[in-house]
């Protein structure tokens, strides 16, 4: 009897108070329910797309991860969660990361065959709460050490903001993990950055064993959503987001510098083309290009007012952007002249890669699609 009681106690300690709460009412929790295997997995909503060794990984609604070999040949992977997955990133052919809603970070170390949790939203809540408390102590110390009134006032304002966030975080424990991650990028197997709603930035230097909260690394007191991470060939990291959020990191995401944004509306994505030009794009057909790593931008006219959500660079050097209502924009990187196409589904697109010969692989609300582009003239 004693042993059983002890075992129960150990189990209770290990699983935490949730175990008892769940025993009362059986409730469906998508966070820890494996993703449904579906006949139409490629036709549901897919939002993230990555190319790995000639295959494509598409992620999306209800924990769907599909490996697409081309020509309609695909296989759905077993995933331990059913939340909406928002982004997928391959470090190399074996190491692939995916992030999603409710603080989900997943990793595959076998080229996308099997996937496991590296973080969930409950852990994220704990981490963020601990970080907020650290920040509180840090700011209180800083206020005490402030050299002048101006600095003190600024720090006090920050502390007020922080206390507001701490209050919010306490409520969050009641509600549960609500925060979606929106993008993931790894510099190598160990060092990577994950960004999410309301200014969340996580960084790992040990391949996801532990995570640092880096929300304060960018100047984002309102908590705008960082939407997209993109890497320059020289390892420079660019972050874009809501309300023109634009930042650059030269030390693999340890610290960021804010850049002057060409646009006060939301930026949904960015990419570097073959000539090392930085393209950023977002709400209502806004596209900007920079040839000096984001120091200055040129406004590019693309003749659409639809949101532009994602982009890629073709093998022939052209830049392709895709967006709402099935718009596909092909831009010449030299002349900035653009051609507008529309996918027959007319439904929003949120990911694009080139497979071969100007064939686009697309993901969006209508699932995985293809689109054949005409070849680049003069190439």
């Amino acid at each position: 009897m004693k042993r059983i009681a002890l075992a129960g106690l150990v189990a209770a300690i290990l699983t935490g108070p949730h175990a008892f709460a769940e025993a009362e009412v059986e409730r469906y929790d998508p966070l820890f329910t494996p993703a449904p295997q579906a006949r139409l997995a490629t036709e549901g909503k897919l939002v993230g797309l990555e190319q790995v060794n000639g295959d494509f990984f598409a992620v999306g609604a209800l924990g769907t991860v599909v490996k697409y070999h081309g020509e309609g040949d695909w296989v759905q992977k077993e995933i331990p969660t059913s939340v909406l997955l928002t982004a997928v990133y391959a470090v190399d052919q074996e190491h692939i990361w995916a992030v999603g809603h409710e603080g989900v970070i997943l990793q595959s170390t076998d080229g996308g065959e099997s996937w496991e949790f590296r973080l969930d939203g409950h852990q994220l809540l704990d981490m963020e709460y601990a970080w907020l408390q650290e920040r509180e102590i840090y700011l209180e110390d800083a206020i005490a050490d402030a050299e002048d009134d101006y600095e003190r006032e600024d720090l006090e304002f920050r502390l007020d903001e922080l206390m507001f966030h701490i209050g919010g975080a306490e409520i969050q424990f009641e509600v549960g993990p609500t925060k979606p991650f929106l993008d993931v990028l790894f510099f190598n197997r160990d060092v990577g950055v994950v960004i999410g709603a309301y200014g969340t930035i996580l960084r790992t230097t040990d391949g996801g064993e532990s995570w640092d909260v880096k929300n304060a690394a960018i100047d984002n007191p309102v908590g705008y959503h960082p939407n997209k991470l993109v890497l320059a060939p020289d390892d420079t990291l660019i972050l874009v987001g809501e309300s023109g959020l634009l930042a650059r990191s030269d030390d693999q995401g340890e610290t960021f510098d804010m850049l002057e944004s060409p646009y006060h509306g939301s930026l949904f994505g960015a990419l570097f083309d073959q000539e090392n030009q930085l393209w950023v794009y977002g709400l209502r057909g806004n596209v900007f290009v920079s040839d000096d790593d984001g120091e200055s931008f040129t406004d590019v006219q693309v003749n659409t007012r639809y949101n532009i959500n994602s982009g890629t660079v073709l093998a022939d050097g052209r830049v392709v952007l895709v967006g709402h209502s099935g718009v596909i924009i092909v831009i010449d990187p030299d002349s900035y002249e653009s051609t507008l196409y529309s996918h027959e589904t007319n439904s929003p697109l949120s990911g694009v890669r080139e497979s071969a010969d100007n064939t686009l692989i697309l993901v969006g609300r209508a699932g995985l699609q293809t689109f054949q582009l005409p070849a680049r003239i003069g190439h």
Binding site: Y28, D29, A38, K45, T178, L182, G265, N307
Partner: protein, 788 residues
């Protein structure tokens, strides 16, 4: 007593006979009085097409639907009016003016829920867009609209960004649609919507007024179907007159006696009047299904009347006076007649195993009708002929006919010969094998698209096909009601489970798309996050869920938030599709058992159809067992011989198999309309067998052999049986022209069964009797079994 010697096989006068003929005048007066009384009530019978009565009210699906009927009403009962231009596109000033007028006119039609109406001309249809500053938007029709080219271009822009293409504007921009929700009960007067008046108003004030060479108007919706059904039912009422005149003509051709033809007709009409009057008195109604009953009662009445007239004429030709002729006719036929009618009536009551109100009404109406025939055509008719007599011409015609061998005798008489008997039975056996093979393809339920109640080429179904082709919505709707505790319908875990359920169902073959509050919430989440797809998920924070459904359409959860419908749009409503959907809903519920969420089936036309199919499927076998059980029992009681029962029942089974094969061949499914037909076919079909066999036995008892006995039976009733088959067939054949598809199906099948049963009886009964060695050589004559 001399006549009793001469016609000894008629036996003694029974008590019923004495009672009837001793007080002839009293009976005539009683009948006249009752007929006047019941006519008064019959005249008040009106066809009604109540939706509730056409569905299996006790099935769990339907019970669930009734529970939430009011909550679902705002979503369900609506019509969709599309205005098509065959000349150019909708971006035309004249067209837009017309569309505005149609929208206005519709809003004035009684029963229309004006505030819920949606068209590009109603102010609630708006476009919206996310900008740097937030949402901007406005009505689809620009405030500055003046019909100019610029404002039409602005309209085109607004339509494109309003998301109404495929919803209120056709994918090809050649038509636009007006969505018109209806109030089942008028909020001001509290009156129920009169579907008949509503349907007529649509035809008159919308279709007739606005249609032209270049404008077509399509109207689709449940209310329109019901309106068309009632119109069709009224038309079918007219068929009755037609059937009556054809029957009169046939009666005269058969008897060459106008007087007795009219008497038979009169008695049969009296039977119909009584039947309708009694139905009204017991508070039952007449519906598009039970409308068949007056036709059947009339035809059965005529067929039994003919037997009486036939006998009266024969007796008169044999020299009896008119009273004795009538008495003897009664004496000779009332047992066979009663047996036949009893088997009809009991056969009809077996329809009660089908738990659908319209069929129960049909069963009750038909049973009453047949009971009434016992009185009118076995009682009133002999009395009337005892007064009115038959005409000389008729008797002379009978004499003339008697002299030459009647073709019926020569044609069917040979089937007692072993060669012919074996041949006939062998052919029937082969056909049965073929029939059984064919009937494997027999489907449960309705197979046609659109409104299966109406014909595939009816205006309604053409309209429906037009809207299905040009707009992105299926008309086959299966609604799963997600039940939660009050206030919990949009709670996160429940919404997440509904989300998973929705995806599960979207993956089921035959499911086109799924809509629910979850769908709206996910779109809304993306919407309040600048349209970003990465946000399009159910959020764990219920405040965020509330924000995401701020602009929801009505009807996606009920007032106390304890039920949220999940609407599955299906490719079709074939039984396979419905079974698959039902099974997958059950599989999901079993895989994710929840204390807080129940997935209740089913509403929507396809949901109700799934329930109906289940009821039909279960009733199908039981009903056959019952109807054959009853017929076999009655035949056993009457004839007390297994062989006799086999002789009578096997041809009926042959017909049942063949009619099922016919249904499979013609693509007619087993459904509420066609299942009763089998029972009716058997119940009425057995009459032939009973009449023929009772005469065969009469002759056998007198010592004739089988061949002689059959010739005797043919000479006594063969003509009448042939006539009966034709009368019954004609009575229901007019239904084949009904604009209502299921009535046409019923007419076709019944006509087939009546004719086939007649042939089966005339050919297979003697053939089987030969094979079973019925006759003096093998069967000792039963002694004392006397009353024919």
């Amino acid at each position: 007593m001399q006549e009793q010697l001469k016609t000894s096989h008629h036996g003694k006068a029974s008590m019923a006979e004495n009672l009837l003929f001793k007080y002839r005048l009293v009976w005539v007066l009683i009948f006249a009085g009752l007929t006047a009384f019941l006519l008064y009530h019959a005249a008040q019978v009106r066809p009604d097409a109540s939706f509730r009565k056409m569905i299996p009210a006790n099935h769990q699906f339907v019970q669930n639907f009734f529970k939430y009927e009011d909550d679902l009403a705002t979503m369900g009962n609506a019509i969709r009016v599309s205005v098509e231009t065959t000349d150019g596109t909708i971006f035309d000033a004249e067209y837009q003016e017309l569309l505005r007028e149609v929208t206005d006119e519709l809003s004035f039609v009684r029963g229309v829920n004006r505030s819920g109406m949606r068209s590009i001309w109603t102010p609630n249809v708006r476009w919206s867009e996310v900008t740097e500053e937030g949402f901007v938007g406005g009505p689809v029709i620009p405030d500055t609209y003046d019909g100019s080219q610029e404002s039409l271009e602005q309209l085109r822009q607004n339509i494109l960004r309003s998301g109404t293409v495929g919803d209120l504007v056709a994918n090809n921009f050649r038509s636009a649609l007006i969505y018109v929700p209806l109030n089942e009960i008028d909020p001001e007067t509290g009156e129920r919507l009169d579907y008949h008046e509503f349907g007529q108003r649509l035809e008159r004030d919308i279709r007739e007024r606005f249609e032209s060479d270049t404008i077509n108007i399509q109207i689709v919706g449940f209310a329109k179907v019901v309106g068309d059904l009632i119109d069709g039912a009224m038309l079918v009422g007219g068929f009755f007159i037609l059937a009556m005149f054809i029957t009169l003509g046939m009666l005269f051709l058969y008897s060459r006696c106008l007087r007795s033809s009219l008497v038979v007709l009169l008695c049969s009409i009296v039977a119909v009047i009584w039947q309708l009057g009694i139905i009204k008195l017991i508070g039952s109604g007449i519906n598009p299904y039970s409308m068949l009953v007056p036709f059947l009662v009339f035809a059965i009445g005529v067929s039994h009347g003919v037997q009486i007239i036939n006998a009266v004429m024969a007796n008169r030709a044999d020299g009896e006076d008119k009273i004795n002729a009538a008495r003897l006719a009664f004496r000779g036929l009332y047992v066979a007649g009663l047996t036949a009618l009893a088997s009809d009536a009991i056969g009809f009551t077996t329809l009660m195993v089908i738990d659908v109100e319209v069929i129960k009404e049909l069963a009750i109406a038909a049973s009453i009708g047949v009971a009434v025939i016992v009185l009118t055509n076995l009682g009133l008719l002999p009395i009337l002929t005892s007064y009115l007599d038959v005409s000389k011409g008729g008797i002379e015609y009978l004499h003339k006919v008697r002299q030459k061998s009647h073709p019926v005798l020569t044609l069917f008489g040979r089937f007692t010969q072993p060669k012919w008997a074996i041949g006939a039975v062998a052919v029937a056996a082969l056909m049965t094998v073929w029939g059984v093979y064919q009937s494997q393809n027999l489907q449960i339920g309705d197979l046609d698209s659109g409104a299966p109640e109406l014909r595939a080429d009816s205006r309604y179904n053409l309209d429906n096909a037009f809207q299905v082709a040009n707009y992105s919505a299926s008309t086959d709707i299966f609604v799963v009601m997600v039940e939660t505790a009050p206030g919990q319908c949009i709670q996160y875990n429940n919404m997440a489970l509904m989300d998973r359920f929705q995806w599960h169902m979207e993956n089921v073959p035959g499911v086109q798309s799924v809509r629910s509050i979850v769908y709206v919430s996910k779109l809304g989440m993306a919407g309040i996050n600048e349209g970003n797809l990465k946000w399009g998920s159910v959020n764990r924070d219920n405040f965020v869920i509330n924000a995401s459904i701020g602009q929801r359409p009505s009807g996606l959860f009920n007032g106390e938030c304890s039920m949220a419908p999940i609407i599955l749009y299906l490719n079709d409503h074939k039984a396979d599709t419905l079974n698959r959907v039902v099974n997958e809903v059950r599989n999901f519920a079993a895989e994710f058992p929840s204390d807080e969420v129940e997935f209740l089936m089913a509403a929507g036309n396809a949901g109700i159809e799934a329930a109906t199919n289940k009821v039909i499927e279960e009733a199908q076998f039981r009903m056959l067992l019952w109807v054959y059980g009853v017929v076999i029992a009655l035949c056993l009681i009457t004839f007390r011989s297994i062989r006799t029962v086999l002789c009578i029942v096997l041809p009926l089974m042959f017909t049942t198999v063949m009619s099922q094969a016919l249904m499979a061949k013609l693509g007619i499914g087993v459904k509420v309309a066609t299942l009763p037909v089998i029972a009716l076919g058997v119940g009425i079909g057995v009459d032939y067998g009973i009449y023929i066999y009772s005469k065969i036995r009469e002759a056998l008892n007198q010592g004739m052999d089988l061949a002689e006995s059959y010739l005797y039976a043919l000479s006594k009733t063969g003509k009448a049986v042939g006539f009966t088959g034709l009368t019954l067939a004609i009575g229901v054949a007019t239904w084949m022209w009904s604009p209502i598809k299921f009535q046409a199906d019923m007419g076709l099948l019944l006509t087939f069964m009546f004719l086939w049963n007649m042939l089966g009886a005339l050919i297979l009964i003697p053939a089987l009797a030969r094979l079973f060695r019925v006759g003096p050589k093998s069967e000792p004559k039963p002694l004392g079994a006397d009353n024919g």
